[in-house]
């Protein structure tokens, strides 16, 4: 299968500041790819490099099988983009904005009406100038302009910012349907539950460097498990510290973070102690994410 996005050692520096360092990434066609990282990790820089808005300082990249760069007009005709810091023309109406961006894309906005209905932007709203819009309405307009021409690849940078929970739900459904039509979704966010919910694979970026990538299961599997043991009587648990990091310890309880491969051995060791209860929690994406930032 052809990769929708392929980068090799992609980097961007501003003087002595490194915004992105040696990013090598492969995003398959038709998947929803989560791109995680806190503010300033390099997510937006990566997207802007892939769109040809920024010139790379190092490395190469391909989008939809063509090299990234300012001259990639053919590629950009097949791309949708919702910027993280969405700016619109305040004097334009919603309709004017959507039609103008449709004409500039050069493709018919086949999905516009359906998207407007799903996101709850009505004709009255669209006849008003953007300067009268709330942040949520602007974000809806941003989502519609990104998806209205049915792109082959869409970059969504913090797409649920400002959306209320009901509209977020509609948006997640839209992402699922968009993927079902074969569109690749590059989903940049720092809201982990939504990434866990809609993405097939994820990459985690830290200070401009890729620190983890794979399916959500892969990423979680590589993380440590949280083990909580409670005892019927005070027990000597000092030997158990060798299995992982002790998070909390009292006379009758112990909490550890343990590598997944070592969990069976730990359970066998607990057998010799007066065990009352044992819980082994799978890590969440949020914990995995935080683990990389500790």
């Amino acid at each position: 299968m052809q990769a929708a996005i392929l980068t090799q050692g992609l980097g961007k520096t501003y003087g002595r500041v490194t915004a992105l360092e040696a990013l090598s990434l492969r995003v398959e066609s038709g998947e929803v790819f989560g791109f995680l990282g806190p503010n300033g990790a390099g997510k937006t820089t990566t997207i802007r490099l892939l769109l040809g808005l920024l010139r790379p300082s190092a490395g190469t990249g391909e989008v939809l099988g063509r090299p990234v760069g300012a001259s990639g007009t053919l590629t950009r005709s097949e791309i949708g983009y919702l910027p993280g810091e969405l700016a619109l023309w305040p004097g334009f109406t919603g309709w004017h904005t959507l039609r103008f961006l449709e004409r500039l894309t050069g493709r018919t906005a086949v999905d516009r009406d359906a998207l407007l209905a799903r996101l709850g932007l009505g004709g009255t709203d669209l006849r008003r100038t953007v300067r009268t819009y709330s942040d949520g309405m602007k974000q809806k307009l941003g989502l519609v302009q990104a998806l209205q021409c049915r792109p082959r690849l869409v970059f969504l940078d913090e797409p649920t910012k400002g959306l209320d929970p009901l509209v977020q739900q509609s948006f997640y459904d839209i992402v699922t349907e968009t993927r079902a039509r074969g569109t690749t979704v590059f989903f940049s966010s720092h809201i982990l539950p939504e990434v866990e919910r809609v993405c097939d694979r994820v990459a985690i970026l830290r200070a401009g460097r890729l620190v983890a990538a794979g399916t959500i299961e892969d990423v979680l599997a590589s993380q440590r498990r949280r083990v909580r043991a409670t005892f019927t009587a005070p027990a000597d648990t000092s030997a158990l510290a060798a299995f992982g990091d002790v998070v909390a310890r009292t006379g009758t309880s112990l909490e550890l973070l343990v590598e997944r491969a070592r969990v069976p051995a730990l359970v066998r060791s607990l057998d010799a102690l007066p065990l009352a209860d044992l819980t082994i929690e799978p890590t969440t994406l949020e914990e995995a994410f935080l683990e990389h930032y500790r």
Binding site: L51, L53, L54, R55, T73, Y81, P83, L88, H96, F100
Partner: protein, 266 residues
């Protein structure tokens, strides 16, 4: 696709600047019309000329050393008047700064440049916006003059002012190209407005001072304003040197602007 894209960008610019264009055009038209009402009749020219000759040299330099000796010469002053120059300057500063740096500064360039638009198309559409708007403005000025001459007999035809408004258009189109270059080097509209206005002001002052102060008169050709003297153009047409210098400056500025935008981050 190129023509369609540029046409789309031009419509975008029209939507953003049409009110400003209308206001400036009407103001210029009314201004030039009023001047025809104030212009001396042929039998009053000598009196007005005598009056103008009493002005201090600084004022004469500002309105043109070639003092009006005919109603037409007086009307030509209107095309070099600071009011006329400031409004044309306002148009080129506004539109040239908005085309690239303005969109970058407010963040809307992300939506434009993520579409299948080649970067040179931003420069060309920006320059066309400047030039077409200027054409509308100077045409309104000329219509103001023509309307005034239709209502009052001054012994001069409105056709005589076509070279003058063409010269004004060419001068400010050149400034527009310079503004586009500045905009392609800057990161926001405010910086571009400040820089372009600064360059315009320095150039104007250089031309003005060089006309008054002989030791630096040799520097006058360095100012673009040297190549626009409405009364000279009215009397003798557009000099070939003016055409050559201004058109070359436009071409060089636009090529430099395209090179700059192709090499920069947006």
């Amino acid at each position: 696709m190129s023509a369609v894209t540029i046409a789309t960008l031009l419509r975008h610019a029209w939507a953003r600047h049409r009110v400003t264009l209308a206001v400036i055009s009407v103001a210029i038209g009314v201004f030039e019309f009023i001047l025809t009402r104030l212009a001396p009749a042929p039998n009053e020219v000598s009196w007005v000329s005598s009056l103008l000759m009493t002005l201090p040299p600084e004022m004469k330099a500002l309105i043109g050393n070639e003092i009006a000796t005919s109603p037409g010469g007086f009307l030509a002053i209107g095309y070099g008047h600071p009011f006329f120059l400031m409004l044309l300057g306002a148009w080129i500063v506004r539109t040239s700064s908005a085309a690239v740096a303005g969109e970058i500064g407010v963040g809307t360039m992300d939506l434009l440049a993520s579409r299948p638009v080649r970067r040179w198309q931003f420069v060309v559409s920006g320059m066309l916006t400047v030039a077409i708007g200027l054409a509308v403005i100077v045409a309104c000025g000329w219509i103001g003059t023509a309307a005034g001459l239709w209502t009052r007999t001054l012994g001069v035809g409105s056709g005589n002012f076509v070279p003058v408004v063409t010269g004004a258009w060419l001068l400010f189109a050149t400034w527009g190209a310079v503004g586009m270059l500045v905009g392609c080097l800057r990161r926001d509209g405010g910086q571009t407005i400040a820089s372009t206005t600064g360059i315009l002001a320095v150039s104007f002052v250089l031309d003005y001072v060089a006309r008054l102060w002989l030791p630096i008169s040799a520097l006058r050709p360095l100012s673009l304003f040297r190549y626009y003297e409405p009364q000279v153009i009215f009397a003798a047409g557009l000099p070939a040197t003016t055409l050559l210098v201004l058109m070359t400056t436009i071409a060089v500025s636009l090529l430099a602007a395209i090179a700059a935008i192709n090499r920069r981050d947006l």
